[in-house]
């Protein structure tokens, strides 16, 4: 029933479909245009609607394994927040999340917004163990879970944290998540308990289909997989750069859409070919009978 095709040919086709567009892209720097779908537009609008100086909780719930999809989202979120002069407070439910947060800070804030000061305009509070347990506690007492920032400075002495005692005190919460604990837990334990709180999520493709059932109720907006990241990145570029040139580090998601397109086309071709083989074999059997 395999149609006599060695699966290694399939692998080769997929490899070329992904590798060649990357090389093409790297040489020409071209990307495809993006038109935003409602969940991505909703993310953009939710951040646009905040007044300057609002504090935003950003949770980095992923590790290097999912960086390909999620790091461009983190970069775009951070760039948008900085452009709007909002103040991100970074936490993580994954042990390697704080490192990813630090990378985003140095790629975006230190590179393009050097006037922003840690502790006043942004802060990285690091990781806490306990998965959804952490979320339950910050619902009532944020400082109990995150008493110090990553360098050991007590939160009580950080201007950015003034007046923040629980998660409901933030104007907006963003989770960038790769699995458990992640968006689902944020919805279950934070969004449900704080009806007025606006929650945005950036999720991997695997999670997207599950998380969709929470949008637009408990989740105000979501970026689904690299496509969502590319759409949002385009929206942010349009508002930050206008007609000017976007620096290459802010086109990462859109660059990844080219291998995506050809990978999908290979898959579609394979499904069509598989069915062609199937029907031709079935036809032959019918004749034989």
């Amino acid at each position: 029933m395999s149609g006599g095709l060695d699966r290694r040919w399939i692998y080769l086709g997929m490899m070329l479909a992904v590798a060649l567009p990357i090389l093409w892209n790297g040489m020409t720097g071209k990307t495809f245009p993006e038109s935003p779908t409602p969940p991505s537009q909703a993310c953009f609008d939710a951040i646009e609607a905040l007044p300057e100086g609002s504090r935003v909780l950003v949770s980095f719930d992923y590790d290097p394994a999912s960086e390909g999809e999620l790091a461009p989202m983190a970069t775009s979120f951070m760039r948008h927040l900085m452009h709007k002069r909002l103040k991100p407070v970074i936490i993580a439910l994954w042990p390697l999340g704080p490192t990813k947060g630090e990378e985003t800070i140095s790629n975006v804030i230190k590179a393009d917004f050097p006037d922003r000061v840690s502790g006043r305009d942004f802060v990285n509070l690091g990781f806490q163990t306990g998965n959804e347990g952490v979320l339950k506690v910050i619902g009532t007492d944020f400082r109990k879970q995150f008493p110090v920032d990553r360098s050991g400075m007590p939160v009580d002495r950080l201007p950015i944290m003034e007046g923040i005692t629980k998660v409901g005190d933030f104007s907006l919460v963003i989770t960038i998540s790769a699995g458990y604990p992640g968006s689902k837990e944020w919805v279950q334990y934070v969004s449900s308990a704080n009806p007025g709180l606006v929650l945005l999520a950036g999720v991997t493709g695997v999670q997207a289909s599950q998380i969709y059932s929470y949008y637009p109720g408990q989740l105000r907006g979501m970026l689904a997989a690299i496509k969502g990241a590319a759409e949002y990145e385009a929206l942010v570029s349009a508002v930050v750069d206008g007609d000017g040139v976007t620096p290459p580090r802010y086109t990462e998601a859109r660059r990844r859409m080219a291998p995506q397109l050809f990978g999908h086309l290979v898959l579609i071709g394979l499904i069509v070919a598989g069915n062609a083989v199937y029907f031709s074999q079935r036809g032959r059997k019918a004749v034989a009978r």
Binding site: R7, K136, G179, Y189, G196, V206, Q207, S209, G217, Q218
Partner: protein
């Protein structure tokens, strides 16, 4: 809704939780008691579970091992526990056939539980010598380290039957595709919805969500365990009733002239 944030029965949300929890437990317990008293429900066929015997038998005939993967999460996950209970049934069958059963695990506590359960199954079947603790061994906690091992082991040992019962993430397809490449019979069961499509595409049989949790009760054949399955069905019927009632209420609400006083869950304020 945060546990303990506003404890006590005064809170309407807690009240609701308490009622639903009590009703669920009551239905399941009542059906269990009824089944013990002789009213054993007839359970519909679950094809994936009927195939367990066939798969084990085939492995024995071919003289190849059986691979059982109880997921990659720890014992705090209900799917892992369900996987271990299925393991004890599979081990019982394997002991009867005297087939080789390999259980690589990715958590130390799971190794502990799996050893206990396989040993118990061997004793029950009257084959205590069949049990070999070294066949149930710890590999690594790392998801893809474990997958690397499983893929390599499948290519070398060529198991004839593969069971994937527990909580799986991205490694599901690595396991299932490599199992498919060596032509093994594959039976999967998980409640991790994101991985179900891959098992459905690559395995011969897949237990979907609730079916997976029902597996050990189904395989045990014990009346009281089968009774709990009927209890689940009764709760499902109640849920459907409440749902229909809620839909009717919401629909009549839509016809009322003034806008609803509080936004429904689906409408962003």
């Amino acid at each position: 809704m945060v546990l303990g944030a506003d404890a006590g029965f005064m809170n309407p949300e807690k009240m609701l939780l308490c009622v639903v929890l009590a009703a669920t437990c009551a239905c399941i317990l009542a059906s269990m008691v009824a089944a013990r008293a002789g009213r054993v429900p007839k359970i519909r066929r679950i094809t994936g579970l009927e195939a367990v015997e066939e798969a084990v038998g085939r492995a024995t005939e071919m003289g190849r091992p059986i691979l059982f993967v109880p997921g990659i999460q720890d014992m705090d996950n209900p799917m892992t526990v369900a996987g271990i209970t299925v393991l004890s049934r599979v081990a019982g069958t394997a002991a009867r056939y005297d087939a080789t059963l390999d259980v690589p695990v990715s958590r130390s506590l799971v190794m502990q539980a799996a050893r206990e359960s396989v040993q118990a199954a061997a004793l029950q079947t009257g084959q205590p010598d069949w049990y070999d603790p070294e066949r149930i061994r710890y590999i690594t906690d790392e998801q893809f380290g474990y997958a690397a091992y499983a893929a390599g082991a499948m290519a070398r040992d060529k198991p004839a039957a593969c069971f994937y019962m527990g909580c799986f993430f991205a490694e599901s397809l690595i396991l299932a595709e490599n199992g498919n490449a060596i032509g093994a019979i594959q039976i999967a069961g998980t409640a991790e919805t994101a991985q179900l499509p891959f098992f459905v595409a690559s395995c011969d049989y897949t237990l979907i969500g609730e079916e997976f949790f029902a597996a050990s009760a189904y395989l045990s054949g014990a009346p009281d365990q089968l009774g709990t399955l009927r209890g689940q069905d009764i709760v499902k019927a109640l849920i459907a009733l409440v749902l229909v009632f809620g839909v009717v209420m919401a629909t009549t609400d839509a016809f009322s002239p003034e806008p609803a006083s509080e936004p429904t869950a689906e409408v962003a304020p």
